[in-house]
């Protein structure tokens, strides 16, 4: 089974600061890491490979330095790494990004399963996974906490919900996004790190994946960021003490006086 895992380089949120004046995230000098949720997706892909054979390819989009996350994926055991890089991709929102990733998955070819982390810790949108499935015309299984069965033509997973979990069966190929409950990611191995040292990613630009440039990058992004701001701190509540009957009466009076009822 050929599996593609989408991974993203994100600033290590432990070190991120927000510029008080502009409200923008300060990325300068902040160490970059693999989006933590993507490591769970990679781990699950490696386990599926170990159990059923096949190969695991890591796919990322980003500036030249983003190749580091592919190197890390190789150190963890991925077989190949694909890097979408070029000016045309810059400034893309989730729609433009998922479109580019979809073209890349098609270019890789014969992919049975695409795994994503449930969201990235910088944007926190959780949109790329489902949009990617839509672009590819494949079923999407979100918030997967367990893969129960994997067969050449179908997969059975548990999706985490607020109440518990749904067991869902889907034909393959399909796109999955996983939650951190699914596994404990392995640590990089010495032999993996040695392989990563000499690893060269396959780098593709828009032309290489046959993408329509108007649908990429800033130009292809309908999302407009109007303003980035710190949410206002919640003011502390007020406790109305006393016997229940008396306290309720006072609360009702307060609500009335402020025009709530």
């Amino acid at each position: 089974m050929k599996i593609v895992v989408c991974i993203k380089q994100v600033p290590d949120t432990v070190h991120v600061r927000i510029n008080e004046r502009t409200g923008a995230m300060e990325r300068e000098g902040v160490p970059a890491v693999v989006n933590p949720y993507d490591l769970y997706a990679l781990e699950e892909a490696l386990r599926l490979r170990e159990a059923h054979g096949g190969s695991v390819a890591a796919l990322t989009m980003g500036p030249p330095q983003a190749e580091a996350v592919l190197r890390e994926a190789i150190a963890l055991g991925a077989d190949e790494g694909y890097h979408l890089s070029g000016r045309e991709f810059a400034g893309g929102d989730t729609l433009a990004t998922s479109y580019a990733l979809a073209r890349a998955v098609e270019r890789i070819g014969e992919v049975r399963l695409v795994l994503c982390g449930k969201q990235a810790i910088d944007g926190d949108t959780a949109q790329v996974g489902p949009e990617l499935a839509e672009h590819l015309g494949l079923p999407f299984l979100g918030f997967v906490r367990r893969v129960r069965e994997a067969h050449p033509g179908r997969i059975v997973v548990e999706r985490m919900t607020e109440e518990g979990a749904d067991a869902v069966e889907s034909p393959l190929p399909a796109v999955l996004s996983v939650v951190k409950e699914i596994n404990t990611p392995r640590l990089p191995s010495l032999k993996g790190k040695m392989r990563a040292k000499s690893f060269k990613a396959t780098t593709w630009n828009a032309a290489a994946i046959g993408a329509d440039e108007t649908r990429l990058g800033f130009a292809g992004s309908p999302t407009k960021v109007v303003k980035v701001f710190h949410p206002e701190a919640r003011r502390g509540g007020e406790i109305i003490a006393g016997e229940p009957a008396e306290a309720v009466a006072r609360l009702a009076e307060r609500l009335r006086s402020q025009g709530f009822c």
């Binding site: 640590l187 990089p188 191995s189 010495l190 032999k191 993996g192 040695m194 040292k197």
Partner: protein, 387 residues
């Protein structure tokens, strides 16, 4: 300090450090308390290829030298010496195969060791044969295509948990020290059972157990080297592995020092952090000096061994004695700096102090190791005078 480690050695340090931080530190207190063999950690070490370090590349290893091994043992010991000794004992038990094994023996045993699928153990010590290894009573009698082993080995690290044992037994008592031979014995061989499991002061997560041989038939193909080479194999193995005990001691000392410095900066007495008091600073300074001296000695000796020299008994012995004495001093001082908290199990330094003690005792007590150094010095001097 920069020790100009190779790229591979730096990679080993980083990898072992990550395993230690993420997989060992969170569980070390519980493993110690329950005296539980650290299988999960062993699996993590195996997945990170740490068991491949000392195995030649032809058998699935990384072909690393003694320095590579020391760097790894140091990092694991910094987190937990109990875990580290289970790891290092696998090296001790299988280095005889690396050094003296036939092609067939290497091909049969080493790939599983390198992958961490099977642990090794080294069995020399007996009830009456500790520092005086010539007191070995276990016998191996040739019978057709087999050797028949009888006797009991004592205090064997990884005993019961290892799959591959190097066992020293007497094949011809009349030949004295040249009458011992070394054998590879697999767990599960009929007549090979495990006896008493020891309850220890420190390194409690590691298993220390008796090996009992009762008419245990071992195929003659499992003889290491030649008949009569047993003690030579044991001594050459110990010469190679002693800096590893030094590295274990160094890791324990470094771990305790790290705790002591961190605590001294945060503990406030008389309105100041205790790190601002000269009495504490001098203790920390002395600890740091001895730790750095230990590291310099271990790394230098390990490089000396890896350079391919023939005789390094004296240097290897030094790289065990000094760091282990240092570990005992540094951990004792770390407990002192943490004061009452240091004596409690809520902080890790009392465990480190308990763990440190064994490094002065096993793989040759520091007294018998000083004999090795003394004897070498006398021999060298005599040679000098002759020349």
């Amino acid at each position: 300090m920069d020790y100009f480690l190779t790229e591979q050695q730096l990679m080993i340090r980083e990898t072992a450090r990550q395993v230690a931080r993420e997989r060992i530190v969170p569980v070390r207190a519980e493993l110690d308390e329950k005296e539980e063999f650290p299988w999960e950690v062993v699996k993590a070490c195996a997945a990170a290829d740490l068991f491949a370090i000392w195995v030649p590349e032809a058998y699935g290893g990384l072909g690393g030298g003694i320095l590579d091994l020391c760097v790894c043992v140091e990092e694991l010991s910094r987190a937990c010496a109990g875990v580290a000794v289970s790891y290092a004992a696998s090296a001790l038990g299988t280095i005889p195969i690396v050094l003296f094994g036939s092609e067939e023996q290497k091909a049969k045993y080493l790939p599983d060791v390198a992958a961490g699928r099977k642990l090794g153990a080294f069995a020399l010590t007996e009830a009456g044969a500790g520092s005086d290894a010539s007191g070995v009573q276990t016998t191996a009698r040739r019978d057709g295509d087999h050797y028949v082993l009888n006797g009991t080995k004592q205090w064997i690290t990884n005993g019961g948990d290892a799959e591959t044992y190097t066992v020293v037994a007497i094949t011809d008592r009349s030949r004295g020290p040249r009458g011992a031979s070394a054998f590879i014995v697999e767990k599960g061989t009929p007549g090979f059972t495990f006896g008493k499991k020891e309850i220890k002061m420190g390194i409690r997560s590691s298993s220390t157990r008796e090996l009992v041989f009762t008419d245990c038939r071992v195929p003659k193909e499992n003889l290491l080297g030649r008949e009569g080479q047993g003690f030579i194999i044991a001594m050459k193995t110990l010469d190679k592995s002693r800096p590893g005990i030094g590295a274990q001691a160094l890791g324990i000392a470094q771990g305790a020092f790290d705790e002591a410095v961190a605590y001294s900066r945060q503990r406030v007495q008389f309105g100041h952090p205790i790190s601002s008091f000269q009495a504490v600073q001098h203790m920390l300074a002395n600890m740091a000096i001895k730790i750095e001296a230990s590291r310099s000695l271990i790394y230098s000796v390990a490089r000396f061994i890896d350079s391919g020299v023939k005789d390094y008994s004296k240097e290897s012995a030094m790289a065990k004695v000094f760091p282990s004495d240092t570990a005992m001093e540094v951990t004792t001082d770390a407990v002192q700096i943490l004061g009452g908290y240091g004596y409690m199990r809520d902080y890790p330094v009392e465990k480190m102090m308990r763990d440190a003690k064994i490094t002065q005792i096993y793989e040759g007590t520091n007294q018998v190791i000083r004999n090795v150094i003394g004897l070498a010095l006398v021999k060298e001097f005599a040679k000098h005078v002759q020349a």
